[in-house]
C-alpha cells in the first residue's frame, strides 16, 4: 500500500526543498562574492590548514625577497664607493708618476702632496659611507664609523680602524645567509681595514703598507718629511699597485655577492609564483565551475518554487462538484 501523503507533508516537503535550494545558493553566492572556495575551515579542513601553511610560506618568501632587495642596495652602495676609491688610487698613481720624474719644483711637489692629502680625506670619507644609517665598511660594527675624519691627513700618526672584523649577512633563504659586508677573497668579513689599514706609525715609521700608510708615505716623499725622498716614490708606486689589486679582489667578492643576490631573487620569485599558484589552487573558487553551479542551483530553486506553488494549491476539492 502506498503511504498516505497529507497536505502538511507536501507543504513541509516543498518548504524544506526551497530552504535547501536557498542555502545551497547562499553558499555558492558566498564563494562567488569572496572569490574563495574556503571561507571557513569547515568548508575544507585540510585545505584550510594548507592555506595557513602556504600563507606562512609566502610571508617567509616575502621576507627573503625584502632581504635580497635590501642586500642588493647595500652591495650596490659598497660597489660604487669602492669605484670611488679605485678612482682615487689611480689619481694618486698619476701624481706619483709625475713626481717621480724628478723634474718638478719643490713648490709643485708641495701642491701634489696637498692633493694627496685631499685624496686621503676623500678615501676616508668614502670609507665612512652609510646605507640606511649603517656604516657599510665597518664590518659588523655598523654603528661606528670606520675612520675618524678628525685625524688630519697630514699628520704622521696612526689612523685607527673603528670597525670590527665581523660580517653583515642577509638571510636569503631557509638556513641560507649571504655576506653583504666588504671582505677579501677567502677571508671572513674584515671591513675596509684590509684595504685602508691603520695609517703610518708615529713620526713616519713605516706602517702596514696599506692604502692610508702608502698615501701618507707618498706625501712624505714629495715634501721630504720624515726622511722621505722623491727617489723612494717608485717603491710607493708598487705599493699603490698592490693596494689597487686588494681593492679589485674586494670588488670581485662584492660582485660575486651581487650575482648570488640576483640568483636568489630569481629563485624566490619563482618560489613565490609556485606558492601563490598552490594557494590559489587550494582556496580560490573556480569561477567557471562556481558560475555553472550557481546557475544550476538557481534553476533548481526556481523549479522548487514553481512546483511548490502548483502542488500546494491542488487538492481533491478543486475537482469535486459543489452542489
Amino acid at each position: 500500500m502506498i503511504g498516505r501523503i497529507t497536505q502538511l507533508m507536501s507543504t513541509q516537503q516543498v518548504l524544506s526543498e526551497i530552504n535547501q535550494s536557498q542555502s545551497a545558493l547562499d553558499a555558492t553566492e558566498q564563494e562567488l562574492s569572496s572569490g574563495l572556495s574556503i571561507n571557513q575551515p569547515s568548508d575544507n579542513p585540510y585545505g584550510a590548514s594548507l592555506a595557513v601553511s602556504l600563507n606562512d610560506n609566502l610571508s617567509a618568501l616575502n621576507g627573503y625577497a625584502n632581504n635580497v632587495t635590501d642586500g642588493t642596495a647595500w652591495t650596490q652602495a659598497a660597489d660604487s664607493s669602492m669605484q670611488g676609491i679605485a678612482g682615487a688610487i689611480q689619481t694618486a698613481q698619476d701624481l706619483v708618476v709625475q713626481a717621480s720624474n724628478g723634474t718638478m719644483s719643490s713648490s709643485d711637489l708641495a701642491d701634489s702632496a696637498a692633493e694627496i692629502n685631499q685624496i686621503i680625506d676623500s678615501v676616508k670619507q668614502t670609507a665612512n659611507t652609510q646605507y640606511n644609517g649603517q656604516y657599510i665598511f665597518s664590518g659588523s660594527a655598523t654603528a661606528t664609523a670606520p675612520y675618524s675624519t678628525a685625524i688630519p691627513p697630514s699628520s704622521s700618526t696612526t689612523d685607527p680602524y673603528g670597525g670590527d672584523t665581523g660580517a653583515v649577512t642577509r638571510e636569503i633563504g631557509p638556513g641560507s645567509s649571504l655576506q653583504v659586508s666588504t671582505g677579501v677573497v677567502g677571508g671572513p668579513g674584515g671591513g675596509i681595514s684590509q684595504l685602508l689599514g691603520t695609517g703610518q706609525g708615529p713620526n713616519g715609521v713605516a706602517g702596514d703598507g696599506l692604502l692610508l700608510d702608502t698615501l701618507r708615505t707618498v706625501a712624505d716623499d714629495m715634501t721630504g718629511t720624515n726622511g722621505g725622498t722623491v727617489g723612494d716614490l717608485s717603491n710607493q708606486l708598487t705599493a699603490l699597485g698592490s693596494n689597487l689589486s686588494t681593492l679589485e679582489q674586494m670588488q670581485a667578492t662584492m660582485g660575486g655577492a651581487e650575482d648570488r643576490l640576483t640568483l636568489a631573487s630569481t629563485q624566490i620569485q619563482s618560489l613565490q609564483n609556485s606558492s601563490t599558484a598552490a594557494l590559489s589552487n587550494d582556496e580560490d573558487a573556480n569561477m567557471a565551475t562556481t558560475m555553472t553551479t550557481y546557475s544550476n542551483q538557481e534553476a533548481a530553486f526556481t523549479a522548487a518554487l514553481k512546483a511548490g506553488a502548483s502542488i500546494v494549491q491542488t487538492s481533491l476539492m478543486d475537482f469535486l462538484s459543489t452542489n
Binding site: G3, R4, I5, T6, Q7, L8, M9, Q12, Q13, S16, L36, I38, Q40, P41, S42, D43, N44, P45, Y46, A48, S49, L50, A51, V52, S53, N55, D56, N57, S59, A60, N62, G63, N66, N67, D70, Q130, N132, G133, Q134, G139, S140, A141, T142, A143, D164, G166, A167, V168, T169, R170, E171, P174, G175, S177, E283, S315, L316, M317, L320
Partner: protein, 467 residues
Amino acid sequence: MGIPTTTGLNAALSGLEAAQAAIDTTGENISNASTPGYTEQVVNTTESAEQSIPGASNTGTVLLGTGVDISSISRIRDQFLDIQYRAQNAASNSANTTSTELQQVQAAVNEPSTDGISSALSAFWQSWGALTSNPAGQSNAAAVQGVISAGQTLVQTVNSVYAQMSIVQTQAAQQYSTLTGANGQVQQDATKIANLNQEISAASGSGQTDNALLDQRDNAIDDLSSLGQVSIITNQTNGSVTVNFGDAAKALVGGTTGTTVTWPQTLGGSENGPGGQLGALLQLMPPPPSGQGSPTGPITTMMSSLDTVASKVINAVNNAPGGLPAASPFFNTGNPNPDGSTTDIIDIATDPPMTTAALQSLTSGASGAAISAAIAGQQNGTADQSYAAFVAQVGGSVQSAQSTQSTAQSLLTAIGNQRESVSGVSLDQEMTNLTNYQQAYEASARVMNAMDSVISTLITTVGGAGI
C-alpha cells in the same frame, strides 16, 4: 410475535446519526488540518445488537439487524513511530546544538583571513627578520619596536580567540542552567504533562477518552524530547503516563496518576549522557563537576590545542637554538597563570614581552643579528605547523558536526513524515470520506423515507376500515 413497526425507522435513524457523526468528525479533521500535533480522528462504528424475530417453522427465530452504534471516536496514532520520532528528535537537537556552538568557535578562530592568528604569527616572524637586517643604524629602533608590537599583537590575537572560545563554553553552561533551572523548559514541560495526566485520568474515570488532551500531552512529550531522551510508560488503567527523562535517576513525571514531578535531578551521570540539547550542552560547557558529563568536550579539546600552539610559539622564541640567552626570555612566562597552567601564552597579557631596551641591547650588532636571525628562522617551524593542525582540527570538528546534523535532520524529517503519513490529515481523503458519508446519510434518509411510506400505506390502507 412480529417485527415492531419502528425497528426499521430506528435502524435508519442510527444510520443517519452515524453518518452525521462521521461528517462532523470529518469537519473536525478538516478544521484542524494545519493544527500542529493534531491527530486524525476516526468514528468507530459497530453493528447494533440484533433482535430476534420469528422465522420459518423449521428454523425458529432469526436475528434481525437494528442498525449501527457509534462505539468510539479514536485517534489514528502509531506509538512505535512516536518512540522513534522522539529518539530522533533528541539526536537531531543534540547535533543541531553542537553544530551551532562549534560554528561560533570557528567564527572566533577566523581563518583563513588576514587578521587571524596565522597572520599575526607571520607578521611576528617577519618582524624578527626586519630586526636581523637592522641590528644598528637609524632603522634599528623602529625594527625593535616592530618586534615588540608584533609580539603584543600576537598575544592579544591568541588571547582573544581563546577568550571567545571560553565565552562559547560559558554560554553553553548558562543555556544548560536556564533550561534545567527552576521554571526552566524541563520543569514547564513536566508540569504540563503532569496536569494533562490528571485531566486525562479523571476523564478516563468517567469512561471518556479526550482526544484533544491526548494530542496536547503527546505534543508536550515531543517538546521534552528535544531537550533529552524520553521514555514513556502508559498506565493502562487510567491512561496516565510515566515519563523518564535523560539519564536522570528517578522518573521526571511519575506516580499512580502521573502527577508527581521530580525536578531538578542530576543529568550526565551515564556514559551516553542525557542526549538531546542538554546532552550536547553538557559536552560543550567547561569541564562540568565530576560524574556529570565528559571532562573533555570538543571545545575544551580545541582550547587545549590552542594552548599547545601557544606554548610551542613561546618555546620557539624563547629557546631558539642560537637565540636569546635563557636568562632573558622574550615571552615572560614566569608569573603563575590564573588557570594554574605554566606553559600557555594565553595569560601573558599579564606578563608582557621583554622591554624595548632589553631587546635592543640583546639584538644589536653582529651577535645580536645572529640571535634575531635564529628566531626569524623559526618561521614555518613546529609552532606554525601546530597552528595549521589546530585550524584543521577546528575545521574537521565543525565539518563533522555539520554532517551529523544534516543526517540527523534528514532522519527526523523521514520519521516525521512517516508519523504524519499515519496521523496527519489528508484533505483528499477527508473529501472522499465526506462524499462517502454524505451519501450514507442520504441513503439512510431514503430508507427512512421508504419506512415512512410503508407505515403510511399500512395506516391508510389497513386503517381505512375504521373510518
